[in-house]
Symmetry: C2
Subunit: 72 residues, 2 copies
DNA sequence: TTGTGACTATTAGTCCGTT
DNA sequence: CAACGGACTAATAGTCACA
């Protein structure tokens, strides 16, 4: 899977990890204080979040930020 | 070096890689079409760039985006 | 060559409801 | 529970004159 855009990479990783941990978007929204609708936009690759937002999501998912940017 | 903020992590990695490749901020600015002053702000941890901006910088530096987010 | 402050234009991010 | 849309506000993208 070469040269995938950073947005799809991030969205896939976030969704995968969130599901692995059995968390709902609403739960992550609560933990991060980011709206569910926005998280949805991130997970569907429609949003271009800042690195601080990605950091908050990573924390809420209990993983290091670098996990979110791993190629898939 | 535990739990360093994503901003310092990103700024350090970008600056380190850029210097390893012997590039000036202006050269990277030209390649990314991002202004030198903005890059400076990113490298000094004062900006909170979006993931698309980080992707452009990574490309200009010839590394995968994940490199930029590696802990240091 | 890199950093700063100040600024405007654009986008990130919120909040509402609805599917 | 997740996605979509619109309307809105806060924050970032991007520029400049200068140190």
């Amino acid at each position: 899977m070469p040269r995938m855009s950073v947005q799809s990479r991030v969205s896939r990783n976030i969704q995968r990890i969130r599901r692995e941990k059995d968390l709902s978007q609403e739960e992550v929204a609560h933990r991060t204080d980011i709206h569910q609708t926005y998280l949805s936009g991130v997970e569907t690759g429609k949003r271009n979040p800042s690195i601080l937002v990605v950091e908050r999501i990573a924390k809420a998912l209990g993983v290091d930020v670098s996990e979110i940017f791993k190629p898939n």
